[in-house]
């Protein structure tokens, strides 16, 4: 299991190259990468503030829940903070399991919980000023399916 909270970029290829490899109990690897997008056409950067001290622990607790619920051979969560440009990677999740259902479902579970329970706050920097990204009701509702 790997949980990393960092401002530096990560190398998705390098992270996945050795993930779940060389094990006899891994038949499925799923990964998700979140990328900074610009919906308005006027965005210049996305800033992620976080709660040092709580962030690592909150993510580790979410990973623990996933491992309890699905039979996972390995998990990676990397989440960046700081100022990120359009197209930059924000975070990644990877899961390795015996079967694909567990790998897909646990990756979705991790994403749903990271979205609403990991202490990050996004602020958009645009040509017209800055604005905090509001949490969506749909994100909170997404937790109910688990």
């Amino acid at each position: 299991m790997k949980v990393a909270v960092q401002s530096a970029p990560f190398d998705l290829g390098a992270e996945l190259a050795g993930f779940g490899v060389g094990r006899s109990d891994v038949g499925a690897v799923v990964s998700f990468t979140g990328v900074v997008r610009d919906d308005s056409g006027a965005m210049e950067a996305l800033e992620l503030e976080h709660y040092p001290g709580m962030t690592q622990r909150a993510i580790a607790q979410i990973v623990d829940q996933a491992v309890t619920r699905w039979d996972l051979a390995d998990v990676i969560v990397i989440h960046r903070h700081g100022r990120l440009g359009i197209g930059e990677q924000i975070m990644m999740v990877a899961t390795a399991a015996r079967h694909r259902a567990a790998a897909f479902e646990s990756a979705e579970f991790l994403m749903d919980y990271l979205k609403s329970r990991a202490p990050f706050w996004k602020k958009e920097h645009g040509r017209d000023g800055t604005s905090w990204v509001a949490a969506k009701d749909a994100d909170e509702d997404a937790l109910k399916r688990w």
């Binding site: 979140g34 503030e49 709660y51 001290g53 709580m54 622990r57 909150a58 989440h79 924000i90 975070m91 994403m111 990271l114 979205k115 609403s116 329970r117 990991a118 202490p119 990050f120 706050w121 996004k122 602020k123 905090w132 990204v133 509001a134 949490a135 994100d139 909170e140």
Partner: protein
């Protein structure tokens, strides 16, 4: 003494990321009431509690939770990770 931390727009409205307070507040709600009575900038941050979340010693908690033994309280808007 208790450490009180603010994040995102809560930090911006109050104008500082953290402070140490001497308080007799028994619950988070009591602490919020104390803060709101201090200055308008706190009222601006705490006016609508439904827009806020609270963590006690770095675990998510509730506004009616006790502050007994708590060393660090953090206030912030709903999280937007991922």
């Amino acid at each position: 003494m208790i450490d009180v931390l603010y994040f995102a727009w809560v930090r911006e409205r109050i104008g500082l990321p953290r402070e140490q307070l001497e308080t007799q507040a028994a619950t988070v709600n009591d602490l919020v009431a104390e803060l709101r009575a201090r200055e308008p900038r706190y009222e601006a941050a705490f006016g609508d509690l439904s827009a806020l979340r609270v963590a006690l010693d770095q675990d998510l908690s509730d506004f009616d939770a006790s502050l007994e033994g708590v060393r660090e309280v953090a206030f912030f808007p709903p999280m937007t990770g991922g």
